[in-house]
């Protein structure tokens, strides 16, 4: 007993130490840093462009670009270790904006480099070390931003944007005020995936920049005040955590400070697999149910709606004046855009649940689809019998995508650009698809249609306070069980044996009626006998 107690104390102390290291760094960069970048000679320059700043950064941080150019943030490529699929933004299709290739200067505004114009050429071939964008992640002034259509560059001169003059960011001031990444830095791209705030993920949107504790216990200032990098702690600029190969469980257990690098991008990295102290029965669930399933009861809880339906097939309608049609609903959400089609949004969304082993398969551009049904744009493994799987919450994204009706595969689309072929200029599917498939080198019969699709996005952020976690009866119930779709396990409370119940209650009723009848006859005969 004594030994166990000591070990627990040691683990706890290590955990506290770990937290101190994490938060100490995050909070005290101004006070505690040994370097004040505004005093560096290298940064006393009138920087005109992003790459000029990077060159100055590299004069001290000599290996930074080399490190970064090894990462998915740079390559937008991911060779899946299990499935062998070639994934990454350079390759995959999604059911939002579709694909990067042929839409580069717009999509690559969220690339971590400057000026990647062509997906057919890898980022490392196209760009050099000076084209790594240090500021988008390390700006502490909150004034740096990459312009939406400049392939990752910010504005360099005052520019008229929709009738307003937008000033370029002050690169010199920003370069002199750099530091560790904050929620704002990561959020600048990751909160806006899919073309707008909260559109894509559902558990990542601008409400997480400064969330109340009810929205996110870890990142709230009233909570642990963590940054993204507290859990997604980078190793040589490589940020752990992946939606292609998700770490469903951390087999190494609770992290303690050690000499070797260890990422924390999973709940059990810090909480272990027996995190419940007062309701220990809950610990019996951690081998089957992901923490997220109970502790993220709903997503899109921060007041930002997420897109749940995107139907490209209706795009291209004009109003009576021949201008592109746009329709807003009562909440101010755009429900139709000529450029994009029909949308549906949702807030406070109850996730869909499925067994998940972390391994995502994508329906890539050359994969045959069955257009008779709904096409899954991504699929994943997992079952009750697989010890690596957990029941996981997902955002289910639905919609319709263009596909080749003869060759039966999804089609690359060209939406952005001032050229004649882009859908957003000319609203011609024929031209846009022809241009895009040629650009991407994709086979295309020339005949297209639209097929309904689903896409599953694993939910892992927006962890609620424990009071708001699901209760037992949200799943263990015959009606409206959250886990109604998990059919390969017997769940007490949800499942029962109808025939056994009928027979059991039938016999009980017979016994009761028999007893009462027996008793009544006794009563009557006693009275008669008494007379």
């Amino acid at each position: 007993m004594y030994g166990i107690g000591r070990r627990r104390t040691a683990v706890f102390a290590s955990f506290v130490a770990l937290l101190l290291i994490c938060f100490g760094n995050a909070q005290a960069e101004v006070k505690n840093s040994t370097a004040d970048h505004s005093k560096f000679k290298e940064l006393q320059q009138d920087f005109k462009t992003g790459p000029e700043v990077t060159e100055a950064c590299l004069s001290c941080h000599t290996e930074a670009s080399k490190q970064l150019m090894q990462t998915t943030h740079w390559t937008w490529e991911f060779d899946h270790p299990k499935t062998g699929e070639k994934l990454g933004k350079r390759n995959v299709l999604n059911s939002f904006c579709g694909n990067v290739v042929s839409n580069e200067p717009r999509c690559t505004s969220c690339h971590i480099g400057y000026g990647w114009q062509d997906m057919n050429v890898s980022s490392s071939e196209a760009l050099g070390e000076q084209q790594v964008d240090c500021l988008v992640c390390h700006d502490k002034t909150g004034t740096y931003s990459k312009f939406p259509t400049k392939a990752g560059h910010p504005l360099y001169e005052p520019t008229n944007v929709n009738g307003k003059v937008q000033m370029p960011p002050d690169l010199t001031k920003i370069a002199q005020h750099v530091g560790q990444t904050s929620r704002e830095n990561c959020g600048a791209c990751h909160f806006y995936g899919g073309g707008g705030d909260g559109v894509k993920h559902g558990d990542l949107d601008s409400s997480l920049t400064n969330p109340p504790k009810s929205l996110d216990v870890h990142m709230s200032k009233e909570g642990a005040n963590m940054t993204c990098a507290t859990c997604h702690n980078p190793d040589a600029h490589n940020v752990p955590g992946s939606r292609y190969a998700t770490k469903v469980i951390d087999k190494e257990g609770v992290d303690i400070p050690t000499s070797h690098y260890k990422d924390h991008a999973s709940c059990d990295s810090c909480h272990g697999d027996k995190p419940h102290k007062t309701k220990e029965k809950l610990n019996d669930h951690t081998d089957k149910v992901a923490c997220q399933t109970c502790h993220i009861p709903e997503f899109a809880r921060g007041g930002v709606a997420t897109k749940t339906w995107w139907d490209w097939s209706t795009a291209g309608k004009m109003d009576e004046n021949g201008n592109p049609l746009n329709i807003k609903d009562d909440h101010g959400h755009i429900t139709y855009m000529a450029t994009k089609g029909d949308f549906k949004y949702a807030e406070n969304v109850v996730p869909t649940y499925a067994w998940f082993d972390g391994q995502m398969n994508y329906t890539l551009r050359d994969e045959e689809i069955n257009d008779q049904g709904v096409v899954a744009m991504n699929t994943f493994g997992g079952s009750a019998n697989d010890p690596q799987s957990r029941i996981w919450p997902f955002k289910l994204m639905r919609g319709k995508q263009p596909y080749d009706t003869k060759e039966k595969h999804l089609l690359i689309n060209h939406v952005f650009g001032k050229d004649d072929a882009s859908f957003w200029s000319n609203f011609s599917w024929e031209k846009a698809l022809k241009f895009a498939t040629q650009k991407a080198g994709q086979s295309y019969s020339g005949e297209f249609g639209f097929v309904e699709t689903t896409m599953h996005w694993p939910i892992t952020h927006m962890v609620a306070p424990k009071e708001d976690a699901l209760s037992c009866q949200d799943c263990h119930t015959r009606t409206n069980s959250r886990l109604a779709a998990i059919t390969d396990v017997y769940m007490p409370g949800r499942d029962h044996f109808p025939l056994l119940s009928s027979i059991g209650w039938g016999l009980a009723l017979l016994t009761l009626v028999g007893s009462i009848g027996h008793g009544l006859i006794r009563l009557i005969s006693t009275k008669r006998g008494g007379r």
Partner: protein, 212 residues
């Protein structure tokens, strides 16, 4: 006494304690158990499951004492089954009982306080319903340790089936048992005996209902 019966302590203090605690626990476990099963919504799953587990452990503890008591006192012999006079007792409960003049055919004594029908019912209770409900219940309780016990290929569904089926058996026993309590003359005689421990029975050295 005129009829030859003597007021005797038939149910000792421990036996009564055991009986009524077990009664309370079993009623509670039927209520919470059928709540977990989903047959009623009178209690939330979480509370039902918690109380069911607590009651299970309490009942197991009680049984440890009960088994110890059975063997140290020799009272287990009260449950040895017999067919002697079984036919008469069955006939009494199914026919003669409706005749107010009829007398129970079993001569109850301190050492032979259960009639042959009771012995069979209690033995079935202890050898069929209880093992089924305990066996499946313990497997249920230790579901998370199945892999460590080498049972990783077992499925919860058949275990749950046996558990629920045994619970229905328990319910049937319970209804019958409660009814039978009130077949005495006067009707509360058996209940009174189980509460106070005292009942008028024949002395053990008299001719009993069971062959010695």
């Amino acid at each position: 006494m005129a009829n030859g019966k003597i007021k005797t302590l038939v149910f000792t203090r421990f036996e009564r304690f055991w009986h009524w605690c077990q009664a309370l626990l079993i009623v509670g476990m039927m209520f919470t158990g059928f709540g977990i099963n989903g047959a009623h919504d009178l209690i939330a799953y979480e509370q039902a499951a918690f109380l069911h587990r607590m009651a299970a452990w309490t009942l197991m503890g009680l049984w440890v004492f009960a088994i110890f008591w059975m063997f140290t006192t020799g009272e287990w012999k009260q449950f040895i089954p017999t067919v002697h006079k079984l036919r008469e007792v069955v006939r009494y409960y199914s026919i003669d009982i409706f005749n107010p003049e009829a007398v129970h055919p079993y001569r109850k004594t301190r050492k032979f306080k259960h009639n042959p029908l009771q012995r069979l019912a209690y033995l079935a209770f202890m050898l069929v319903i209880m093992p089924a409900i305990w066996g499946s219940g313990l497997l249920y309780l230790f579901y998370n340790d199945w892999p460590a016990l080498g049972l990783q290929n077992w499925s919860l569904e058949p275990v749950a089936f046996v558990h629920v089926a045994a619970a229905f058996g328990m319910l049937l026993f319970f209804i019958g048992h409660v009814y039978m309590v009130f077949t005495a003359t006067p009707v509360t005689k058996y209940l009174h005996a189980m509460l106070t421990g005292y009942e008028e029975v024949y002395p053990d050295d008299s001719e009993t209902g069971v062959k010695k």
